[in-house]
């Protein structure tokens, strides 16, 4: 099972969480504090053909309104986010794991 990390700010967390919950997609919230004094809120979502489109859409909306959002898979920030790109990542990761 592949998971994707969605880093956002604390004030945006409820809005994003409800976007997933409204579609019956399970999402977990993790709050972390690191040594660089950074506070990060991360949503963890299973990456699947069902979630890839929604994740890409939410990413696009937030980017356009210049809100903070980062997607990570296995710690690597994903550049050029799109549904197709996320599905490619999923396919590649599953191949590597099998």
């Amino acid at each position: 099972m592949q998971h994707i990390a969605i880093e956002v700010t604390e004030r945006d967390i409820d809005e994003l969480r409800s976007e997933f919950n409204n579609r019956n997609i399970k999402v977990d919230v993790v709050r972390s504090n690191g040594f660089d004094a950074s506070s990060i809120v991360t949503l963890i979502v299973e990456l699947s053909p069902v979630t890839a489109g929604l994740v890409a859409t939410l990413y696009g909306i937030r980017k356009r309104s210049e809100k903070h959002i980062k997607l990570k898979h296995r710690g690597i920030e994903i550049k050029g986010v799109s549904e197709a790109a996320l599905l490619k990542i999923l396919e590649r990761a599953e191949k590597l794991d099998n």
């Binding site: 099972m1 998971h3 994707i4 990390a5 399970k26 977990d28 993790v30 709050r31 972390s32 504090n33 690191g34 040594f35 660089d36 004094a37 991360t42 963890i44 299973e46 990570k72 898979h73 296995r74 710690g75 690597i76 920030e77 994903i78 550049k79």
Partner: protein, 399 residues
């Protein structure tokens, strides 16, 4: 979903490389901090050891439980920094390691091509170098890294405790403010070396560039400082209890250098992110670095250096009593800080143009013959155009 899903999504973990037993048997039992600090009988955090090039040490809250995630590769990195700091003047080793660090950081930022190029340069340089001499004794480094890892973890645990309690006490807050404000108001105390006066001048020069900027003594900074101090106190009482009072000076030195290293990495990461954005966006210039934000960033860097000279002075004063020259280690670390900054700005100045060209050549398929400066990199780049760049970079970096 479990905490493992979070770990797996946020870092590329190599769990087999982590030596869990050392932490489980030797370090975690020492970190039963709350029993002394807050009257609790056990540490409320569940510790987890990872091994990844994200190097992230963090406290996370997940489903009502708090975890301390410690990345052992951070400790390994500190070990290298200790060696580099002691190994005075070994510029080549600094460059080689910085290439590795930068490549790993760029991989995390999703900048695979530049990560690969730096990985190739690192690999080429390392192949033709002895890399490290043995400037510092193994035993001394062993104690340093033990203390530094303890310090990192204690710092995070104190953050967790402060969050659970009602925040900072009035005394802690006053102490932190006094420290911060006092250092800024009286930069020329007698116990500072002439080198620190130079840093002081640098600091004020940078501050004047950031017109109107005042160092933000906010709640976050005060909390950081308090956790630094609490972690220092924790190590300074716990470690001598294990190894005898004679190690106190080395414990203090190790804590201060750990503090310096973490700040150094934060600044380097921020600079590398800017560097990568410049390349990725195809602009190839660093105008953004002239902005007010960048000036503030530089001022903070200078401030950290400034504080470090006070640490060195503190430790030197202690050294007079104990005869252990700990201050020199802090000064060596400051030299390392400056040296790595120089290495980094050299990369930005000398490689940003060529890297941008290589990126363009990559995209357009142009011939790469003009880029002989990266040596074998050209052939590697040609042969890997369509393959897994990140995977190749990782292999070259030893992952």
């Amino acid at each position: 979903m479990s905490i493992d899903s979070y770990i797996h999504a946020t870092r590329k973990n190599f769990p087999k490389r982590a030596t869990n037993s050392v932490y489980r048997d030797e370090i975690f039992p020492l970190l039963d901090i709350p029993s002394a600090a807050s009257g609790l009988k056990f540490c409320p955090l569940i510790p987890i050891v990872t091994y990844s090039y994200s190097r992230r040490v963090e406290c996370v809250e997940f489903e009502g439980q708090e975890y301390l995630i410690y990345d052992q590769y951070m400790g390994q990195t500190f070990n290298v920094f200790n060696r580099l700091a002691f190994d005075d003047g070994n510029t080549e080793a600094r460059v080689i390691y910085f290439m590795k660090y930068a490549a790993e950081r760029l991989l995390q930022l999703g900048d695979e091509r530049n990560a690969l190029i730096l990985a190739i340069i690192h690999s080429n340089l390392k192949r033709n170098s002895t890399y490290f001499s043995n400037a510092s004794p193994t035993e001394e480094r062993g104690l340093s890294i033990f203390v530094q890892e303890l310090y990192l973890m204690a710092h995070e645990i104190y953050h967790s405790l402060l969050k659970r309690s009602n925040g900072l006490s009035r005394d802690s807050r006053d102490h932190a403010k006094e420290f911060l404000e006092g250092r800024l108001r009286t930069p020329n105390e007698e116990n500072l070396s002439s080198m620190s006066s130079q840093v002081d001048r640098d600091f004020h020069a940078v501050m004047s560039v950031a017109l109107g900027f005042e160092l933000d003594i906010d709640e976050e900074l005060i909390r950081e400082l308090c956790c630094d101090r609490l972690a220092l106190n924790f190590c300074a009482t716990t470690v001598p209890h294990l190894f005898g009072q004679s190690v106190l000076q080395r414990v203090l030195t190790s804590c201060y250098t750990a503090h310096l290293f973490t700040r150094m990495l934060t600044f380097i990461d921020q600079d590398l992110a800017k560097f990568s954005e410049g390349i990725v966006d195809g602009e190839g210039n660093f105008d953004s670095m002239l902005s007010r934000d960048y000036a503030v960033h530089q001022a903070r860097k200078a401030y950290i250096r400034q504080c470090s000279f006070y640490y060195a002075a503190d430790i030197n004063q202690g050294s007079e009593k104990t005869g252990v020259a700990g201050g020199q280690a802090v000064l060596s670390s400051i030299d390392l800080f400056k040296a790595l900054e120089e290495v980094q700005s050299s990369i930005q100045e000398n490689l940003s143009g060529p890297l941008l060209s290589i990126n363009r050549a990559f995209v357009t398929g142009e011939i790469l013959d003009d880029f002989s400066f990266v040596g074998d990199a050209v052939d590697e780049l040609r042969s890997t155009r369509e393959s897994d760049l990140a995977g190749l970079a990782e292999r070259l970096l030893g992952w």
